[in-house]
Amino acid sequence: MPNRTQPPSATARSAPAPAEHPTGEAAPEAPDSSTVLDDLGIRRALMRIAHELVERNDDLSRLYLVAVPNGGVPLARQLAANLREVADAEVTVGILDTTLYRDDLLARGARPRLRRTEMPSVVDERVVVLVDDVANTGRTIRAAMDALMDFGRPRGVQVVALVDRGHRELPIKIDYVGKNIPTQAGDRVELLGDAGDLEGPLRVVLRPEGEGER
């Protein structure tokens, strides 16, 4: 089925995106002081993380990069390209939506929009590397690990986050961090693409609590 997860015609794109949709504000906007990590910084961080992955994993053929959408997807793809470049390794990339595993679903009024899951190969005996854009409370990673276990029994799970902003509420450790960014609990930290929808040059922006809210 060709169109499994595409919206019906182009019209669904105009459907209102829920507030937590990370690309909901991807409208082009000049990089400003709120940018805490620019495209060059992101590319450097991902190259360094690729080297760290090679260093810490003896058998790269076991690696399986699993992106947490939406922000994790372009990052995981770039990491896979980097691993090809630095270690000549072909690493599978999957996408795992954690929405249905969230622990706050039933407390909310409206249900968040679902995102796609595409797991092209089995996880059994693989070393799964979860790739997320921003590590915060640890709840998303917890949800991703639960989801992952429904797909099989990985040999190990490691976590990449482009940005670690702290405020962990669960005992979750991030194995590979692009950049540590101190934040206040109410701040918003987002990965955005200049061309919208995480396309084009990427950047991470930080908006203090109350700013840029819509």
Partner: protein, 311 residues
């Protein structure tokens, strides 16, 4: 954002339909997993309240609820006090006191799900009421067409059969029109509702005209028990005139798909060879039914009831 209950397609906006279809498309992948279950509705209770026998729809809702980890309880006429002349609303109130998080209702009388929704705190999902609506069937049909054709807007959809008595036809007419398709209905004159054109539908008694250029050919189940009446002379005559076969399908587009809500009276609405193979997508409809109902339960179950529409 869709309202608290799902009582009919007539009440929905196009954006509501799109939201449900998009969520359903994401739910499909869960059925292909080694563990076909997500924890989303863990600890939630869904009651299937069926005043009219139904195996397919009830099972589909039951599997949908279980794949979301809800506890699903079936109340049906044969296994409850419904046969003891307890009033429908008393039954609903009794159920409500057990604090379900969603109630799925089927009844042979139109409007009963609405009456029940008025007294219940839990969201009510209409699983078919009389000749009124069967919204989840229409939504799964829309999902199937969207994925087969890549769009719904601009398609020509022909619905054939007993349009007057069909809640499936009614919900599909609303659904396909809202999504921008051209809708035609065809059948013996006694089975075409008076004034159906007022909805924006074209009515035909000639299959050749009805199917000309159709992208989607949807046959409805003929209720054989109605045959004793005067709606049409015989099964054979109906099958010859309005049955879908490779011969009548020639009038439709080359890539037209054939749909049926099931169960099929083989050799009546559909010829034997069409019931099982492409271009018929009947089993895709069934598969999509589970994902679609998961989407509806995800969006509605456990939502707090508020006046009017939410968000």
């Amino acid at each position: 954002m869709i309202a608290t209950d799902l009582l009919g397609i007539e009440d929905l906006e196009r954006s509501d339909i799109e939201q449900i279809l998009e969520a359903a498309a994401h739910m499909q992948e869960i059925g292909d997993r080694p563990v076909k279950k997500v924890p989303t509705l863990r600890g939630r209770t869904i009651v299937n309240l069926f005043f009219e026998p139904s195996t397919r729809t009830r099972t589909s809702f039951e599997i949908a609820g279980k794949r979301l980890s809800a506890d699903v309880v079936n109340f049906s006429t044969s296994s409850s006090s419904l046969s003891k002349a307890e009033s429908i609303l008393d039954t609903a109130r009794t159920l409500d006191a057990m604090q379900p998080d969603a109630v799925v209702v089927r009844h042979r009388v139109a409007g009963v799900p609405k009456r029940i929704a008025d007294v219940l705190d839990a969201p009510v999902i209409n699983a078919g009421d009389g000749a009124h609506e069967h919204p989840t069937q229409a939504l799964l049909d829309l999902l199937t067409v969207w994925q087969e054709k890549g769009r719904i807007d601009g398609l020509t959809v022909t619905i054939i059969g007993d349009i007057v008595h069909s809640r499936v036809a009614r919900s599909n007419i609303y659904g396909f029109l809202k999504m921008g398709a051209e809708v035609r209905v065809a059948g013996p004159p006694t089975m075409l509702p008076v004034g159906v054109q007022a909805l924006g539908v074209k009515a035909f008694t000639s299959m050749r005209e009805a199917l000309d250029g159709a992208d989607v050919v949807m046959a409805l189940r003929i209720q054989l028990e109605r045959l004793s009446g005067s709606l049409f002379p015989s099964i054979r005559e109906y099958a010859e005139t309005f049955g879908i076969s490779r011969r009548t399908l020639r009038y439709a587009k080359d890539d037209a798909i054939v749909m049926h809500p099931g169960p099929v009276n083989r050799g009546v609405e559909l010829s034997h060879d069409l019931a099982d193979h492409r271009p018929s997508v009947i089993l895709d409809q069934v598969r999509n039914g589970v994902a679609l109902r998961m989407a509806v339960l995800y969006l509605l179950a456990g939502r707090e009831r508020v006046a009017g529409r939410t968000e």
